[in-house]
Symmetry: C2
Subunit: 533 residues, 2 copies
């Protein structure tokens, strides 16, 4: 298309979100009116399915669960009073708790005020809080607490936190988040931190808060130990869409971020994305573009490039939301379909210097999503240095002009090579905008799932790895017990046979490699392993 | 394959790197002896090409440049005395400078010692230093300086740095890195920081160091202003392979990391990867596996999952190294091939909770690369809490056992579904290992490039976006001049025509949107834009 045709197409297709200052531009994606027409019926079906889901249908049939993340930002939509009350009373509880912490009414035994917040969680219990904390830090007002995360079971990661927090541990509030209450990485993190408090002679219970399902292992633990507070998670909120439950809102409130605006942005985006006109419904538009791009089979990766440092983690957040929701083996009819869309990206213009070379010249296996924020200043003041002075007293060129120019240049350079892109434009980046962006993608994922006939709300594929890991850990205990009884070093095959597990020699090998590297009792001699009490 | 066959295959294929404690396991990739045989001749060709490159051939023919990153860790290999001297004297200069900074001989005018280091750079001038700083922070000995980065032209990013560094600005050393010396993002970052120093009444010149090509714009600027020091970059080192030049080594040395071990690890890996036996050469083995996985056309994404928090940035580093090197339109014969391999990933086991669902059940469009570190303790001491106590006084289960178990579980779960994986196992994570891993991938990329007949050392595709951005910024200036002369608000089309650029109305539109959001002089009235002096 020539520039004028492109400009007309841009204006014709531009999708505005009223009241949020957000626009979606799909003009640089390749599709024509015929393709649009063919999508009318499938999109109607997607709208129907979403209506039912919002009304409380068992939208997650395998797990016999409702899917209620949309109710979190508008409790009036929840299907019954009990759920409405759960949502609103938790919100009040969060507000009240954060206010008391900020006022120093809830305070550490060893000081006047909590200064730091450590969130222990993983996956759905970390990515949302991490995104929000980084994107909104010191926006609108100064943060009330410094936020840290432990999102893995890497012992060295625990040590790094311990050494970086130093003496501030005694004024650190620890929020442990696990929906099931038994996620091993989170439990390990909690135990490591408990031990750290113990080592320092501090009482962990006076620093600890739980966010978990009622009656879970973590809930029981927190109740019995007498932690500061417990906040609920519900089975009708999936981990990857839990950022607007206590999972995301409690850390936000403690950091001093505007949770009301965050929820309002999401509610407004929800309202707008209930439209049944695809071209005026930004979530439907996104879902349809993904469908066009990958021919409904995920043939193109989704490269997400926000031109804003604060949105660096947005693509990682979307990686989970999109890939865990859409990456499914079976469709709703039980047919093997192996669906999904791969998502990656960091930020522009930084990534231009990393891999735009491949995006423009190399494999044609992706479509780009640019996120552009028009207002350069996010916090209170920005030193917008003039990097080139303007002629005749006119305003000079700023770094923000460059950032915007690089987005335009890259979009154009990709278009010239037939690489499609979507651009999401936001007037500014604040809690409202971020809530809206998250809601936008949540619903786009829901629509797309219906288009390709899959359940977006379960994750049957994650169990296998967990189970396999559990059997490895079980074998580890038996292996240690066996090894400690041997008088001489043995080969891996001998040990596996001795354990009655000749078929698991490779697992025994990997366990021995790890044990020999970390336990002084396990000794390697050549290709033999032995025990030294 | 049954477990026993897999174990035999594992042992048969395992590739050891002598002296580095690194092993490569390709047993879970699908290939057979016939395929291996067919690769013999292409691999021989790749070995020949690499030999020539190392001997100083014009391995980057388009740009008429030698490719010398291998010489950086073994200057004796450089093709002439001048280059050898350049390498060794720069190393001495780095050591001496860092020692003087640490000793307080080179110190800020306003204090006793530099406490913080700010690196301003982007792409090849940021990713390496970022990876190294994060991976090796407080390993072996405590960091001598805290390291910060500015890697974009986001004004809000500059403000965030300014607010986080606070009063420590006066004891911050700023290293500005740009090979060409005219990278706009880096220049803008430098100017913003210069202004920040000015605002605080500090003399930037006494805090500034340049790493850049001799005679570049940045070099001239630093020389004229009288910066503390200037370090060279050379045209025979590409940005994405520059971490072992002053680009990476100067920040490392200032942070107090072991640059000698880092270079030694790379040199040892280089020595090992010069073997002409593919199955005993870990870089050749990787390249061949990539070729098998993607049928030499990049049909599978490379998902990189280090089971180690400190290696979080490794996949981002590889994104650049692999995608910018291999993502090429034309092959060496000028044929259009659109090569490349898409790379993404963060870390395990964290990512298991984000998208292993899709990896196991969804699209079969990737192969995984796991990186496993056997020794859990990286720093001086690790509190390896027992999360489950052992029976009969035996050592209990640690978080590190879980981390290792999750890798094994995921590898197995993927294998069961026919998803291939490579595992790189390292005894421990330190400067030597990291140098070796980087060298491993540098050479793997080089081999793969020969296998698919492309130039891995240029990046012709990045210019188009930069040029397009430059024309946008040029139009911005003319647009402002034009708008300031108008007495009434006009539509985008009117303004574009008035500028004599009716075909660039969309660019005018995006510029006006950005200007109206940031400049008080540019006012929007409905769909019209005007000027208010």
């Amino acid at each position: 298309m020539n520039p004028n045709e492109l400009w007309q197409r841009y204006q014709r297709l531009l999708c505005h979100v009223p009241g949020l200052g957000i626009k979606i531009d799909a003009s640089r994606m390749a599709f024509d009116d015929g393709e649009l027409g063919a999508m009318r019926e499938p999109m109607d079906h997607a709208f129907d399915a979403m209506d039912k889901l919002e009304q409380g249908a068992m939208a997650n049939p395998d797990e016999q669960r409702m899917v209620g993340h949309y109710w979190l930002r508008d409790a009036t939509l929840a299907p019954n009073d009990e759920l409405r009350h759960a949502i609103t009373s938790t919100l009040s509880q969060i507000d009240a708790f954060a206010a008391e912490v900020h006022a120093g009414k809830i305070k550490p035994l060893e000081g006047k005020r909590f200064t730091d917040l450590l969130v222990v969680g993983i996956g759905g219990s970390a990515l949302g809080p991490q995104l929000v904390a980084d994107a909104l830090s010191n926006v609108a007002r100064r943060d009330r607490m410094r936020v840290h995360f432990l999102d893995n079971t890497d012992p060295d990661g625990f040590t790094r936190f311990a050494s970086s927090i130093g003496a501030r541990l005694k004024s650190t509030l620890v929020v442990v988040i696990s929906k099931s209450g038994s996620t091993p990485e989170t439990r390990n993190g909690m135990l490591a931190i408990e031990q750290l408090y113990r080592t320092k002679g501090l009482d962990f219970r006076g620093h600890a808060v739980a966010v978990t399902g009622e009656g879970s292992k973590l809930d029981d633990h927190a109740r019995k130990q007498g932690w500061l507070a417990r906040f609920p998670m519900w089975d009708w909120v999936g981990g990857r869409t839990s950022v607007m439950s206590a999972v995301g809102l409690l850390p936000m409130a403690l950091q001093g971020l505007d949770i009301e605006a965050f929820l309002d942005g999401a509610a407004k985006m929800d309202a707008c994305t209930r439209s049944r006109e695809t071209m005026k419904n930004p979530a439907a538009l996104l879902a349809m573009m993904w469908h066009f791009a990958g021919k409904g089979r995920g043939l193109k990766d989704m490269v997400v490039l926000p031109y804003k440092d604060r949105l660096l983690l947005f693509s990682r957040y979307l990686q989970q939301l999109v890939m865990e929701s859409l990456g499914k083996e079976l469709d709703l009819d039980g047919q093997s379909v192996h669906q999904g869309i791969a998502v990656y990206g960091n930020k522009g213009s930084t990534d231009q210097h990393a891999y735009v070379q491949q995006l423009r010249d190399g494999l044609d296996n992706f479509f780009a999503t640019f996120i552009v924020v028009l207002r350069d200043a996010v916090g209170k003041s920005v030193e917008q240095v003039e990097v080139e002075h303007g002629a005749g007293g006119l305003p000079g060129v700023t770094p923000g002009d460059y950032l915007n120019g690089f987005w335009q240049g890259t979009r154009q350079a990709l278009y010239e090579k037939g690489r499609g892109s979507i651009t999401i434009m936001a007037d500014k980046l604040d809690a409202r905008t971020l809530g809206a962006l998250i809601a936008l993608y949540e619903r786009a994922v829901g629509f797309y799932a219906t288009l390709v006939n899959i359940n977006a709300y379960h994750q049957p594929g994650v169990e296998a790895g967990k189970k396999a890991a559990a059997t490895v850990l079980d074998l580890r205990s038996r292996l240690l017990a066996y090894l400690s009884r041997q008088n001489e070093a043995k080969t891996v095959d001998e040990i596996a046979s001795g354990l009655g597990e000749p078929d698991r020699a490779e697992t025994v090998h990997h366990l021995l490699e790890h044990l020999a590297a970390n336990l002084k009792q396990v000794k390697r001699k050549g290709n033999r392993f032995g025990w030294k009490p």
